[in-house]
Symmetry: C2
Subunit: 216 residues, 2 copies
């Protein structure tokens, strides 16, 4: 499974455990400005006692084209934490990111004899990224079974995206229910040097608005 | 386009030029035992005067599961250069490699405003790798157009695989016809330290058999 250090993927990890899977997690150090999330991923993996956790290096700064990997670009901010998140694809979109990360997970899985992949995408309260939509997830699963020895020899891969149809509030509720260390997860795209969140990027706003709704 | 330093991708580069494309090439330093191919890729890019050439670092040794990235595994060899290549998937198969490399090419292309991707796979005289088959190529093109901003906003990507239906002899003939610096390309999976080829791995055998046929 892909573990970012954010709320969603941490929830997927705990969900997989509840479903009875032995969970092997993969994080990618891709030159993201919020690389602090990798520390969160390590803490979450330890906290949930995952079977193992790898951090792969894949520097996407050379690819460019995203506010998350290009420090010259600015992360778009709302005027307040309660400003709704637009459904236009924002500049934080990283070209081909989920395709790449899922390909890495696929290689890892096939080399280790695993056939279940998982990712924490959701397509309700999200930023409109194309590679978070159910059509993309279904298409990647098909590709995985054409691309690999396991797939074409009749031992197919399944790609789990259990948060796909949940709202952010539902994810938050599920996280608490499953005992996810929610306080250790970090969703912010543009954290300050001391590790505190900006509170205004799309990712902070989606999460803060869900937290407010949950506590109402 | 993906440029490995081998005969096939060099031929694709020259083919794209003949078709009128400005060619931007991507090579991946993935911990392959035949990393000498990266030097060949650089020479070919210079020789053909490609628009640019990037070498990305993505260490797949941590993924494992392949004789090309695991030095403890042996590259399978034939008894002689003329021994036919089996159609069983050999241990030189690298899990998810073409999916990963095409994802990188897709990210590069989208970040730069390009919409044509190209790869030098062929599925006639090949090693039976699942991610070289036409079904895989077609499926990746579909995925690319679901995974990206450009794809979903109606500026689709095309994935060119012009060698798909050619035999190795036909590729060699095309390479000469297009002025590819054939002598600078390297196909061997297990070259000696001095850069000379082993002559017995599947890749050497496919190429040597084609060269013999061409010179008959």
């Amino acid at each position: 499974m892909l573990l970012s250090g954010g709320l969603d993927s941490a929830t997927v990890a705990a969900w997989l455990q509840r479903e009875g899977f032995e969970v092997h997690a993969l994080s990618v150090d891709y030159g993201q400005r919020h690389s602090i999330e990798l520390n969160a991923a390590r803490e979450i993996a330890a906290d949930l006692k995952l079977a193992d956790h790898h951090v792969l290096q894949l520097d996407l700064r050379g690819v460019g084209g995203s506010a998350l990997t290009d420090l010259e670009m600015e992360v778009p901010k709302g005027k307040s934490p309660t400003e709704p998140v637009s459904q236009e694809i924002p500049t934080t979109y990283v070209p081909a990111r989920n395709t790449l990360f899922l390909s890495l997970a696929l290689g890892f899985a096939e080399a280790r004899g695993a056939h279940d992949l998982a990712i924490g995408v959701n397509a309700l309260d999200y930023s409109g990224y194309p590679d978070c939509r159910p059509e993309f997830i279904a298409s990647f699963e098909k590709l995985a079974n054409l691309a690999t020895r396991e797939g074409i020899e009749g031992r197919p891969f399944r790609l789990h995206a259990p948060l796909q149809d949940l709202t952010k509030v539902e994810i938050l509720r599920l996280a608490h229910e499953l005992g996810v260390p929610v306080d250790k997860t970090i969703s912010c795209y543009d954290p300050r040097e001391d590790g505190s969140i900006c509170g205004l990027c799309e990712s902070c706003r989606l999460r803060l608005q869900a937290e407010m709704e949950l506590n109402q």
